[in-house]
C-alpha cells in the first residue's frame, strides 16, 4: 500500500511537472515575438496592448484547451480500455466522436449561426450529437441483457461509428464547397478556441467526469481482469461499468466539441504511461491525464509554429507523431 502511494506520488510529481511546464511554457512560444514585461504591464490599456492580447486571447486559452482536451481524452482512453477489456479501445471506439462530428457537420451545413456565452452552434450541436450516440449505444447494450454486455457495447459502438461516418459523408457530399471545407477542417481538430467561453462550457462536464474517474481505479483494476472475479471481490460490477461508461463518454463528448476529434491521444498516451508506470489504474489513470495534457499542448505548439503563418490542424500532428510511435511500440512489445 505504501509502495503504491510512493509510486503514485512519484509519478504525479514527474507527470505533473511535465504538464505544468507545457501549460506555462506554451504561451511563451510562438512565431510572434512578445515581451513578457509588456504582457503584464497594467499601465497599457488592454485594447492597445497587442502583446497581452496575443498572450491572453490567442495563446493561453489554446494551451488551456489543449491541456483539458488532452487530459480528458487520455483519461477516457484508460477507462474505455479497462471497461471494454480491449487494449485497442479509444475514447472514439463507441461512436461518441462520430456522433459529435455528425452534430457539427449538420450545424455547419444547416448554417446555424447562433451562439450562447461564446459557444457557437457547431460546438453545442457536436455535444448534442455525442450524447445521442452515447444514448443509442447504451440502449443497445441494455436491450437484451439484464446486465451490461461489453461485447454488445463494442459491436454497437463500431457499427454506430461506420453508420455515422456514412451519414457524415452524405451530409458533406450535399454541402457546397465552402461548407465541405469547413466540415473537413473541423474533423482535423483545432484548439484555437479564441477566448474562454468554449473552455468554460466544457470544463464542468470534464470536472464531473474526473470526479467519477477518481472513484473508479480500484474497481477498474479488478474489472479489467475478469468481471466474475471482480464481482466475487465485492465490486458492484454493473454500477462501475455504468459510471465508467457514462463519465468517460460525457468527458469525450465535451472534449470533442471543444477541440474536434483529435486522434491518437486516447490510445497512445495510456499505453505509453503503462510502459512507464505499470498497469495499476490508481497510477495509470491520473498519470495518463497529466501526460495527455502535456502531449497535446506540445503538439499544438508544433501545429501553430511549424508552417506559420499557415495553421496546421493539431489532429494531423498527433497522428503523425502518434502513428509511427505506436507501431514501434507494438513491434517492440511482441
Amino acid at each position: 500500500m505504501t509502495d503504491v502511494r510512493r509510486r503514485l506520488a512519484m509519478s504525479m510529481l514527474v507527470f505533473g511537472s511535465l504538464a505544468f511546464v507545457a501549460v506555462i511554457g506554451a504561451p511563451l512560444l510562438g512565431t510572434t515575438p512578445i515581451r513578457l514585461a509588456r504582457v503584464f504591464d497594467r499601465t497599457i490599456p488592454f485594447a492597445d496592448n497587442v502583446d497581452a492580447q496575443i498572450f491572453f486571447i490567442a495563446r493561453l486559452p489554446r494551451a488551456l484547451a489543449g491541456a483539458l482536451v488532452g487530459a480528458t481524452l487520455a483519461a477516457a482512453g484508460v477507462v474505455f480500455q479497462a471497461l471494454l477489456r480491449n487494449p485497442l479501445a479509444t475514447p472514439f471506439t463507441l461512436g461518441v466522436s462520430a456522433g459529435a462530428a455528425l452534430g457539427a457537420m449538420l450545424a455547419i451545413t444547416m448554417r446555424l449561426h447562433l451562439s450562447l456565452w461564446g459557444v457557437s452552434a457547431v460546438t453545442a450541436a457536436s455535444f448534442v450529437g455525442s450524447l445521442g450516440a452515447v444514448g443509442i449505444v447504451y440502449a443497445m447494450a441494455r436491450a437484451r441483457h439484464r446486465g451490461f454486455s461489453t461485447n454488445i457495447l463494442l459491436l454497437a459502438g463500431v457499427t454506430l461509428n461506420s453508420f455515422f461516418s456514412a451519414l457524415i459523408l452524405f451530409v458533406q457530399y450535399l454541402a457546397d464547397s465552402a461548407e465541405a471545407l469547413r466540415t473537413m477542417r473541423w474533423l482535423m481538430g483545432d484548439l484555437d478556441v479564441a477566448g474562454y467561453g468554449p473552455l468554460l462550457a466544457a470544463l464542468p462536464l470534464c470536472a464531473i467526469a474526473f470526479v467519477a474517474f477518481a472513484w473508479l481505479p480500484r474497481a477498474l483494476n479488478l474489472l479489467s481482469l475478469d468481471t466474475d472475479a471482480a464481482a466475487s471481490r465485492g465490486v458492484d460490477v454493473l454500477r462501475v461499468q455504468r459510471v465508467a461508461f457514462f463519465s468517460a463518454s460525457m468527458a469525450t463528448g465535451a472534449a470533442v466539441s471543444l477541440g474536434g476529434p483529435i486522434g491518437f491521444i486516447g490510445i497512445i498516451v495510456p499505453h505509453l504511461v503503462r510502459l512507464m508506470v505499470g498497469a495499476d489504474h490508481r497510477i495509470v489513470l491520473p498519470a495518463s491525464a497529466l501526460f495527455g495534457a502535456a502531449f497535446l499542448v506540445a503538439a499544438d505548439v508544433v501545429a501553430r509554429t511549424a508552417m506559420a503563418p499557415v495553421e496546421l490542424p493539431v489532429g494531423i500532428i498527433t497522428a503523425l507523431i502518434g502513428g509511427p510511435f505506436f507501431l514501434w511500440l507494438l513491434v517492440r512489445q511482441r
Binding site: T31, A58, S115, S120, D176, A194, G195, R304, E311
Partner: protein
C-alpha cells in the same frame, strides 16, 4: 437524330442541322474519339458557373442547354436543367441533352473520357488568377465562334478594372485581410486568401495590401495570434449567401471585437460582404472589385 437547336427555339437553321447530321454519320463511321464538329457549338452544357456567366456576357446565353448545380446567375439559368457539378457530374443527363460542347473543369478527366467516347467535345476550364478571366473569356469566345463579341465583353471588363486601378494610383495601400470563411459567431477556423488567386488579385487591384500576400497559396487557415501579429487595417469578410437581417450582420461583425488590438477592429473597418458573385471568377469580378475598393478607399469611392 433530332438536333436540339430547333427544340430550344434558337435559330433552327437547316444547314446546321444538315451539317450536324453528317458529322453524326461521321462519328459513327470513324473511330469514336474523332471530335464531332468544328462548327460553332449550339448546345452547350456548362459545369462551371464562371464559364456560364461568360457565355451569357458574350451573348451566347441562348446556346446554354444545361448548367451545374451551383449556377445561380444570370437569373435565366434557374430555368435550365442541372447536370451536377465538379464531383458529381450526371453523365446520363448530359448525354441525354445531346450537347455539342461541354465545359468542364480540367480536373474532370473521367468525365472527359466518357464524353469523348460519345464523341462530345469538352472544353477544359481552369481557374486561375484575375488576368486569366478575360483571357479565358476570349478563348471560350473563339471556341464558340463569337470571337468579336467575347473580345468586346472582355475588353469592357478589362477597362472597368483598369479604371479602378487608375483612380487609386499613388494612394497608400492599407494592409487588408480577406477572410473567405470562418465558423459563424466565433473566431475559429479563420480561412483567408493568401497571395495567389483572383481574390488576392482583386484585393490588390482595389488598392489593398494583402497582409498574407507573402504566402503563395490561394487559401489558408490562420490562428488568432497570426491575425493579431499581421495587424490588418481593413478586414473584408466574404459570405457567399444573400445578406441576412441587419441584426445578424451586426452580431457577426461584433464577433471580431474579441481581438480589439487589430487595427481594423479598433477603427471599425471590418466589412462583411454578401453575395454569390464573390466566389465566381467570371465577368462580375468588376462588381467585386468595386465593392472591395469602396471598403478599402471609402474616400475615393464613396462611403458604403
Amino acid at each position: 437524330m433530332k438536333l436540339g437547336a430547333g427544340d430550344s427555339g434558337f435559330g433552327a437553321r437547316g444547314w446546321a442541322l444538315g451539317a450536324c447530321l453528317s458529322t453524326v454519320v461521321l462519328t459513327v463511321t470513324l473511330p469514336a474519339a474523332a471530335p464531332r464538329a468544328q462548327l460553332a457549338p449550339q448546345r452547350v452544357v456548362s459545369l462551371v458557373p464562371s464559364a456560364t456567366e461568360m457565355l451569357f456576357a458574350m451573348g451566347a446565353g441562348p446556346r446554354v442547354a444545361a448548367v451545374s448545380s451551383y449556377d445561380h446567375y444570370p437569373p435565366e439559368v434557374e430555368r435550365l436543367p442541372r447536370v451536377g457539378a465538379l464531383v458529381d457530374p450526371d453523365v446520363e443527363r448530359i448525354l441525354s441533352l445531346r450537347p455539342d460542347l461541354v465545359i468542364a473543369y480540367a480536373s474532370q478527366t473521367d468525365l472527359r473520357a466518357q464524353l469523348g467516347r460519345a464523341g462530345i467535345p469538352v472544353y477544359s476550364y481552369r481557374h486561375g488568377a484575375l488576368a486569366d478571366i478575360t483571357a479565358g473569356m476570349r478563348d471560350l469566345g473563339t471556341r464558340l465562334g463569337l470571337e468579336t463579341q467575347a473580345r468586346a465583353a472582355a475588353a469592357e471588363i478589362d477597362s472597368s478594372l483598369s479604371d479602378i486601378r487608375a483612380r487609386l494610383a499613388g494612394r497608400r495601400r492599407p494592409g487588408a485581410m480577406l477572410v473567405i470563411g470562418r465558423e459563424p459567431q466565433s473566431l475559429r477556423a479563420i480561412n483567408v486568401s493568401g497571395g495567389y488567386g483572383f481574390l488576392h488579385d482583386l484585393l490588390d487591384l482595389a488598392g489593398g495590401r494583402n497582409v498574407f500576400g507573402d504566402v503563395s497559396r490561394e487559401s489558408m487557415m490562420v490562428a488568432t495570434e497570426t491575425v493579431l501579429a499581421r495587424a490588418p487595417e481593413v478586414i473584408i469578410e466574404l459570405h457567399y449567401s444573400d445578406p441576412p437581417s441587419s441584426d445578424a450582420i451586426a452580431r457577426e461583425r461584433k464577433t471580431w471585437s474579441l481581438l480589439p488590438g487589430v487595427p481594423a477592429v479598433k477603427n471599425g473597418r471590418v466589412y462583411l460582404l454578401y453575395g454569390g458573385e464573390l466566389v465566381v471568377p467570371g465577368p462580375r469580378v468588376v462588381l467585386t472589385a468595386q465593392t472591395f475598393a469602396r471598403a478599402l478607399h471609402p474616400d475615393v469611392f464613396g462611403v458604403r
